[in-house]
């Protein structure tokens, strides 16, 4: 246990060094505190924030939008990708659309969804749904396409019907690539969420960053930026742990 802990401590040592350098930079006047406020005051401001209700209202708004948008992207994206792999007409219909929209920088959709649905939750959810769906679709499609034909045949000759086989063989075969697609989507959702809130919103963590920046509260602004980074990091670690568990059958 202690060995594991010291392992973790060692691994994140560079972060600690970075933090110390940050503090020293303002302490010794290497950079102006107007550009980079001392880490200690950022922490202080951060403490003030997380003990205020206002902050959690904004954090809640962000998590709600991100969560709903991502959930829709995963469910619908996975269904489309697997459908494309399993039914030729679906593939013929959707693959050109996927190919054209995949390289589109998703942030270009920010003004579009704002135009359609305004400044509130709905436009953010739609944005994250549209922006995050394609990596999931493509992961699911590639994974499902790669399912071994003898596995499909095994299920069929053991008495499974076509739909049953889709669920029992094609979906689990697609899982490794599908879950990788979801990981990309997770990172992308965070980027899109904060960017869109920064530009067009009246609530959310991105909005808070912009609001504090405009108001000259740089300590608070940096605190929210750090909080956003930490949240993204935790989400990714948790996701990776869940993914490893789900795929423990692979050696």
């Amino acid at each position: 246990m202690t060995a594991a802990l010291s392992g973790v401590a060692f691994r994140y040592l560079p972060i600690v060094i970075l933090a110390v350098l940050w503090q020293m930079a303002s302490e010794f006047g290497w950079v102006s505190t107007a550009v980079l406020p001392p880490l200690s005051s950022v922490f202080e401001a951060g403490w003030g924030l997380i003990t205020s209700d206002d902050f959690w209202v904004n954090a809640g708004a962000s998590l709600y939008r991100g969560g709903v948008g991502l959930l829709l992207a995963i469910v619908i994206g996975a269904a489309l990708g697997i459908g494309m792999a399993w039914w030729r007409p679906v593939r013929a219909l959707l693959s050109p659309i996927v190919e054209i929209f995949y390289p589109l920088p998703k942030s270009a959709l920010i003004p579009v969804t704002a135009l359609w649905l305004g400044f509130g939750d709905a436009s953010k959810i739609l944005l994250i749904f549209l922006g995050c769906m394609l990596p999931v679709t493509i992961g699911a499609f590639n994974g499902a396409r790669g399912s071994e034909r003898t596995l499909v045949w095994s299920a069929r000759s053991l008495g499974a019907g076509r739909l049953r086989t889709l669920w029992d063989v094609v979906v689990p075969s697609a899982m490794p690539e599908l879950l990788n697609g979801v990981r990309t989507a997770l990172a992308l959702s965070w980027v899109l969420l904060v960017a869109s809130e920064l530009i067009v919103a009246r609530a959310g963590l991105g909005y808070l960053i912009g609001f504090m920046g405009d108001g000259g509260n740089y300590d608070g602004m940096f605190a929210v930026v750090l909080f956003v980074a930490l949240l993204g990091f935790i989400a990714d670690r948790l996701y990776q742990m869940a993914m490893q568990r789900a795929l423990r059958w692979r050696e």
Partner: protein, 265 residues
């Protein structure tokens, strides 16, 4: 050939693979064969002659385009649990444990849960995998995977058993144990078995009839009947048995040399 009363009738069957890139491959060419109910037939032939393809057609996994296959007089329209198959490369579900793999067909058959478990355990024990029930296929050796695949197929007790080199990955001792086990299962609950193998001695020991296929495109080159007393402990050393194995070896070898020849040209 006893076409009347035969359970499986293959009539002038051909199969052409048409890969999306590359030229078409004629894998099975004009094969006609009748297999009686509860018969144990072995299929021998050089690598690449179309043995697996023939089993896939019988399984209903590949569509019958030229010729016909009927089972009990009805043409095959797709896969079904009446025809169990053990694939050459096992085809275990990698995300399921040994137990879950063996239970899969029983679940599909709608057996009650405790019945599924009891039956799966019996077949896991039969193939000597007791203690590995909770292992995933990636944690098993090739021979253990093969035995899991055999258990999974035997557990659903299919009327027709299609086996594609089912003992190919086993060591000599396990192979001999499994051969005896298969024979005793077959004697206890007789079923039609089509058994693909490279091992002539195995074919002569297990089967009552042996079909030898030619080099690709696969045709039936010869059909040989055998009938040895399998209970004879000295069978493998007896002169008639050894002569039969030699005779068939010569046939297979001639085809294997032909297969080599066509490959190098």
């Amino acid at each position: 050939m006893a076409v009347n009363g035969a359970q499986i009738v293959i009539d002038r069957l051909s199969h052409m693979y048409r890969p999306p890139h590359g030229k078409p491959v004629l894998a099975v060419d004009d094969v006609s064969l009748a297999v009686g109910e509860r018969e144990f037939l072995a299929l021998l032939g050089p690598s690449g002659c179309g043995k697996s393809t023939l089993l896939y057609l019988l399984g209903g996994f590949l569509p019958t385009e030229t010729g016909s296959i009927t089972v009990d007089g009805k043409p095959i329209t797709g896969p079904g649990p009446d025809r169990g198959i053990v694939f050459q490369h096992f085809a275990l579900f990698p995300w399921k444990t040994v137990r879950a793999n063996v239970m899969y067909g029983l679940k599909r058959a709608g057996l009650p849960r405790d019945e599924q478990e009891k039956r799966a355990q019996a077949f896991i024990d039969l193939v000597g995998l007791h203690g590995f029930e909770e292992s995933y296929p990636s944690q098993l050796s090739g021979g253990m995977k093969q035995r899991t695949a055999i258990a999974r197929t035997l557990a659903i007790d299919p009327e027709i058993l299609l086996m594609d080199e089912p003992f190919g990955a086993l060591d000599a001792q396990t192979r001999s144990l499994m051969q005896t086990e298969l024979l005793s299962i077959w004697e206890r609950s007789p079923k039609t078995v089509i058994f693909v193998t490279h091992d002539v001695q195995e074919a002569v020991y297990l089967a009552r009839r042996i079909a030898v296929m030619s080099a690709r495109p696969g045709r039936i080159k010869a059909i040989i009947e055998t009938n040895f007393d399998r209970r004879d402990p000295h069978l493998f050393k007896s002169k008639p048995f050894v002569d039969k194995v030699d005779e068939i070896w010569d046939l297979v070898r001639a085809e294997a040399i032909k297969a080599q020849g066509t490959r190098s040209t």
